[in-house]
């Protein structure tokens, strides 16, 4: 067991070293991609500022609280984006054009191979914006920052990234049956944008979907409201129970998605003859 972990870790280090070489090789491209992401996040914040020129609070939320939710939402998204971006290729074309073969042939975990093939530097834009906004809110003192909350903060970010990855993996795995599942993955992924704002503003149906079916509310808005010390819709605001539910959801979704992925690889047939 320990031996296996060591081996995978060594392989991953080699791959990360490759990634840094790529970044250094094309510094301008890297900076431009980063700048692009940075700018689009910044516009979302500017929107909130302009709106709050007109209103004192949005259904009881202050500007700073909304900025925290917005920023917090970026961190698990950025982590997932950084490490597992290659899943998109499985959905769009690796299964379709038969390039998935190469993962089947190597004596390594297939999922590990898929995600370790690429790190997505653009994700640093999301992580950077998210971190800046969260730190800013901490310095303003609107976030509860005792030991328990800080520990759960990291737990929640991790669980949130797992939920992202699980949703991506689930929809990408459909490609084993449909040949390409990119469109479905894209629709599911875009749902995450709903959870950048308090979900009470949406109609009941939408709220139900993003809380329980494609549970992005548990990645962003619900844990964020806990860290703000605001009582969430489950009345668990003070207790951290929402992070516990988030972890359970992350575990369940991960196991379902991974099982589907393994089932998919077992029925995978290469393209061509």
């Amino acid at each position: 067991m320990i031996h296996t972990v060591k081996r995978y870790w060594r392989l991953y280090k080699v791959l990360i070293a490759q990634f840094f070489k790529v970044v250094l090789q094309s510094k301008v491209d890297f900076l431009m991609g980063l700048f692009g992401f940075f700018l689009s996040q910044f516009m979302g914040i500017a929107f909130l500022y302009l709106v709050f020129e007109q209103i004192p609070s949005l259904q009881g939320w202050t500007l700073d609280q909304l900025i925290f939710i917005y920023g917090f939402a970026q961190i698990p998204r950025g982590i997932d984006h950084l490490f597992t971006d290659n899943i998109w290729l499985v959905a769009w074309r690796l299964v379709l054009n038969g390039n998935f073969d190469r993962y089947m042939l190597r004596p390594m975990n297939i999922f590990f191979q898929v995600i370790s093939e690429k790190l997505q530097p653009d994700a640093l834009g999301e992580l950077l914006v998210g971190s800046i906004l969260v730190i800013r809110c901490m310095m303003k003192g609107i976030v509860v920052a005792d030991g328990v909350h800080i520990a759960l903060f990291f737990v929640s970010i991790f669980a949130g990234a797992v939920i992202y990855t699980a949703i991506k993996l689930f929809f990408a795995s459909l490609a084993f049956w449909l040949k390409t599942s990119g469109p479905f993955l894209q629709v599911a992924y875009e749902m995450a944008n709903f959870a950048k704002y308090p979900t009470e503003i949406y109609a009941k149906g939408i709220r139900f979907i993003i809380t329980w079916i494609i549970p992005f509310a548990f990645v962003a808005y619900l844990p964020a409201s806990y860290f703000l010390g605001v009582d969430g819709p489950f009345g668990t605001g003070g207790s951290g129970g929402v992070v516990a539910i988030e972890c359970i959801i992350a575990a369940v979704f991960w196991f379902v998605a991974y099982a589907l992925f393994q089932k998919g690889t077992s029925i995978y047939e290469s393209a061509g003859n």
């Binding site: 516009m43 020129e53 629709v187 503003i201």
Partner: protein
Amino acid sequence: MKKKLRIYFPFASNELKRQMAYKGAFYLFIFISLFSSFIQYFLWMAIYGSSGNGILGNLTRNEMIVYVFMTYVTSSMVMITISDWVSMDVVEGMIAMNLIKPIDYRISLISRAMGQAVYRFLVPGIFIWIGLEIYKVKTLGMQVTGIGSILLYLLSCIMSFLICVLFDFCFGMVAFFTTYIFGMLMAKEALISFLTGQLIPLSFFPGVVQKVFDFLPFSSMVYTPVMIYLGKYNSSELCFVLARQAAWVVILYVLGSIIWKQVTKRLVVLGG
């Protein structure tokens, strides 16, 4: 004129046919971009609900609903990206073929874009538009938009389309200097969604910033036609904004020609 039409019409009709061929992907993108319209819709409803004031940024709650969805219809119709065609042609060296043919490269691109615009008008645009009108009358109790406003709106949209593609042509010239324009495209899209009023009506900006926007082409791209549709301009303002759009068409056309001349002088195409 007739000859020109005969030359460039196939560019438009081919693009229209091409778009028809990839319906699946296209419906999906409609669906996804409607997501963001609905997020905006709910967000604005909450914002109006939290405000004691019925009018924000000169728009009533009902006008804001029309604004959100008409902005979507308008921008999907007029904001055609031609810069990635330019960049693809440059990267693949196809640009050389386009230079030796007896056609104007820019007009051929604009014709292609026009085919796409027609398609987008037919497929999502008109249905959402009609749906919105029905919703407006049945649920919001507003008047149907008059035929005069619709005609002026369409006239303004045509100029918006020209402003967008002519601007994007200038932007696409960047492709001659760098092969990686993905990051720039993202930055451009983010900035444009802000400056055109797609994200938030320009009337929400502080007065000084609005003055600056008056001197930029972006406000003429989406904001102007939607405001015409909402009937927000009196007749003298109407003449002014339409004239301003026409002026931008001319300016960007001339600017594009100048940049194009400069750029093709230093063009190096690899391979035979």
